[in-house]
Amino acid sequence: MAQVTRRQFTGMMLAGAAATLVPQRDAGAAGKITLYLGPPEKTSSAIAQGFEKKTGVKTTHLRLSAGEAINRIRAERNNPQASVLYGIGLPSMLTLKADDLLVPYKSPEAAAIPAGYRDPDGWWTGTDVDFIGIASNKKFLQEKGLKAPRTWEDLTKPELKGQVCIGNPATSGTGYTFLTTILQLMGEAKGWEYVHRFNANVAQYTRSGIGPTQLVGRGEVGVGILFAHDILGSIDQGFPIEMSLPDEGTGYDLFCAVILKGAPEMEEAKRFIDWSLTPESQEILAATGYFDVPTNPKAKVHDLVKPYVNVKLINYDFAWAGNSKIRQQLVDKFQKEILAGRK
């Protein structure tokens, strides 16, 4: 049996100590970029690789939820780690803009994007759109002899007691989009009254917006409120799920690409934004199971998404929903009035 001498032990200790002193991995060098990406890991990796392949710029990326991204970018204000934030909803981008954490960039590629999907001053540019849908577990519907909900009101029916699931508005973009959609559609007073009734049917508010796919897919709950790309993704994975949309119209989000203030790799960041607006980039989304509607009209729309391209959307007020004061107010109210009352 090998024996370790004190000398060898010292060697190991020194090696260990040395490992801690190694500075961060060659960040900031030319031809490299660090990305914060919102889509699921599979899609995020494909996006990073796609960009790397196209431009030769070496990428490092971290997948983050909207909340994690905002928090991280704020925390890193004095020492920005990443240059680009991509694939996060517009309200969060507006929050970052209000915090003075973005820099505008008018991409030459942006001309191809419809005006409604980009900021005229280039603070943000939309890459894909997605709307809120209702996912129902087919087995559940069958067992209970129910039809998939077709209106927001359907979700408050007694048959669905304890069977609805949605991301927590405090932590998930999905939950927040749902809440603001309801409040815009029904008005503040009636909207909150609806949320109370809706709450009675909710089995669980998950931490992240995508959480309910798992729950609905495995039949832990009957119905989930989700972004359509998550629902379609689960259907694509083989979960027995049916997607329906509310007749009253539904809210949506515009997923954007932005350059972060103090970006360590400004040139590469611009190249990334340019690339993210091309059909080639936007088609990666659906190809990797992230079924959004691309903002570039020239990008191919995936067959699963096609039926929903002309879905009835509400006129979602991003400026209002993305205002961090409003956001704080709404989330606070939600926590105190809705969450606090739950057991």
Binding site: T20, K42, R63, I70, Q204, R207, E220, S234
Partner: protein, 559 residues
């Protein structure tokens, strides 16, 4: 001859004078602790008690005034108490059966009980959902129930008890083993049957140990972040609330204020524990134990009871791990049970960086923690340097501080000058080290107490400096303790989530946050596969490294 004269020269405090080389490290340790323990806590505190640039308790008091946060605090306390109580009972029973009941399979039972200590706690939530969720294999598949009980108090209690009771078990196992055997034998010969011995002698003597176990579990429950995030949707607890406040509301001051509220009861518990341990020192009175072989009760009822109890607990734990393994090798656990290796392939490719980084950083952390822990232990137990009590106190503080708070303190303190460490490996390694160094110190101090001071004195009288004494006499005797501390640091580092969730960066990916986000997305297969890979790696390290190092490192030469 030269050395002989060296002794004759009067030296008022040989320990201090002779060991200059060693003692020059002392300020370094002090600075390190100040930077990585005191400073982040201070910054956190500052963040929590200032509003609009002025000093104010408004944020904290404001939170306490809101019924929602009071409910959260109450939830946290209730959960902590339940987990502590249940876990201690479980751990006591287990440790008792393992040390006092003559039954087969003890090695196996021990191994199984230790599994949770080397795996990420969130694993419990994952397998609990798969087994006992609304569509769980057992609750729904077998019993036809569709219960939501799992998502809330009961589920959290179950997850935390399963994840943390083994730590209490380990603690109690040592105490049960360390108790002077003749006390129980005396009771036995005086007519007490096994049950009576337990209630009249063993347990009363172990009260300080039981209290330690309770407090340990209490603080683990308080600090747990992963399980509440996954299971506690409708049962908000403080650690998760801090995370949600910062990630969801982007509200750093309020997060810091919540952290302060979390810190308060935990610190209280910590000091209560310390007082208790100091006062009730009689558990160790039987220092001159006549026999270390404890009574092994052979009564059939006791043996069957012990087997059933340990077997039952093992079954529960193994079911958890079997489920994780099942999740890792099936296409979509619960829906499509086709066998596949794609999750493992993906864990070893897509998450390779996370695995490599985690292992590397944890190894670095255990090296630092091993050396610094030994040095601090030496200063505390063997030297008379001024301020060693304070050093010990500060280094032990992280025992009381939940990982979430440490992580948050780091995030606040090190993303601005003068200590701009965000995004570096150093911040992660420091978080690992800070979290585990108290254990390294404890094990070092305990081992040092076993080594008679006369050995130091003999070495010094023969002309050795403190450093030489430490190096040539003490270290060889302490090797097993140092190694144990290092391995502990390693496992704790690779499994922690709460301490690193705020400090991970794109350049240094870690496994536990990856598992959390995979589970969030519903990639149960990948999360499970990655967990399995992690557990196997940890097992390899735990069992492989001591074997590789040789016998001296495992058993030591100390009497």
């Amino acid at each position: 001859m030269v050395q002989a004269t060296g002794i004759l020269i009067a030296r008022p405090r040989p320990g201090l004078r002779r060991g200059r080389a060693l003692f020059s490290l002392y300020p370094l340790l002090v600075l390190g602790l100040a930077l990585f323990v005191v400073y982040p806590l201070g910054m956190l505190l500052a963040q929590a008690v200032q509003a609009d640039g002025r000093l104010s308790a408004g944020t904290v008091l404001g939170l306490l005034r809101e019924s929602y946060y009071r409910a959260v605090l109450l939830n946290t306390l209730l959960l902590g108490v339940s987990v502590a109580g249940l876990g201690t009972v479980l751990a006591t029973g287990y440790a008792y059966a393992m040390t006092r009941v003559a039954m087969p399979g003890k090695k196996f039972f021990h191994f199984v009980a230790l599994l949770p200590t080397i795996s990420p706690p969130i694993l419990m939530a994952l397998s609990l959902i798969l087994l006992y969720g609304r569509r769980g294999l057992i609750t729904n598949g077998l019993l036809g129930l569709q219960s939501t009980l799992l998502y809330g108090f009961w589920g959290l209690t179950a997850a935390q008890v399963l994840a943390y009771f083994p730590f209490a078990y380990l603690l109690l196992l040592n105490l049960f083993r360390g108790l002077d055997a003749s006390l129980e034998e005396a009771a036995w010969t005086m007519g007490a049957h096994p049950g009576k011995i337990l209630t009249t002698v063993t347990l009363p003597l172990l009260i300080p140990g039981l209290a330690s176990a309770v407090l340990l579990l209490f603080s683990y429950s308080f600090a747990d972040l992963g399980n509440p995030l996954l299971l506690g949707g409708d049962y908000p607890v403080l650690a998760a609330q801090i995370y949600l406040t910062i990630i969801g509301l982007y509200d750093m001051p309020r997060g810091a204020a919540l952290a302060l509220i979390l810190l308060f009861p935990v610190t209280l518990v910590f000091f209560a524990h310390k007082r208790l341990a100091e006062r009730a020192a009689f558990a160790s009175i039987g220092g001159r134990a006549s026999s270390m072989r404890h009574p092994q009760f052979r009564h059939p009822a006791v043996r069957i009871g012990g087997l059933l109890f340990c077997g039952g607990v093992c079954l529960l734990i193994l079911l958890q791990y079997a489920t994780v393994l099942g999740g890792a090798v099936t296409r979509l656990f619960g829906i499509n049970h086709t066998l596949t290796l794609k999750h493992f392939a993906s864990a070893l490719t897509a998450s390779r960086d996370a695995l490599v980084d985690t292992i590397g950083l944890a190894a670095a952390a255990s090296a630092v923690s091993g050396v610094a822990g030994l040095l601090i232990a030496y200063f505390v137990a063997r030297s008379r340097v001024p301020g060693r009590g304070a050093l010990d106190f500060v280094a032990s503080l992280p025992l009381a501080i939940p990982g979430t708070v440490v992580g948050l303190g780091f995030a606040i303190a090190f993303n601005r000058p003068p200590f701009l460490l965000t995004g570096t490996a150093l911040i992660i390694v420091a978080a690992f080290v800070v979290r585990s160094i108290p254990y390294s110190i404890r094990s070092g101090v305990a081992a040092l107490r076993q080594v008679d001071v006369s050995l130091d004195e003999a070495s010094t009288s023969m002309g050795a400096t403190s450093f030489q004494t430490l190096w040539r006499v003490i270290l060889p005797l302490l090797r097993p303790a140092v190694l144990a501390g290092m391995i502990f640091t390693f496992t704790r580092s690779v499994t922690t989530l709460s301490a690193v969730i705020f400090v991970v960066s794109p350049h240094w990916a870690l496994v536990t946050p990856t598992i959390l986000s995979q589970m969030d997305r519903g990639d149960v297969g990948e999360a499970a596969a990655l967990s399995v890979v992690l557990i196997v790696l940890v097992l390899l390290v735990i069992h492989g490294v001591p074997r590789l190092l040789g016998r001296d490192w495992r058993e030591g030469t100390a009497a």
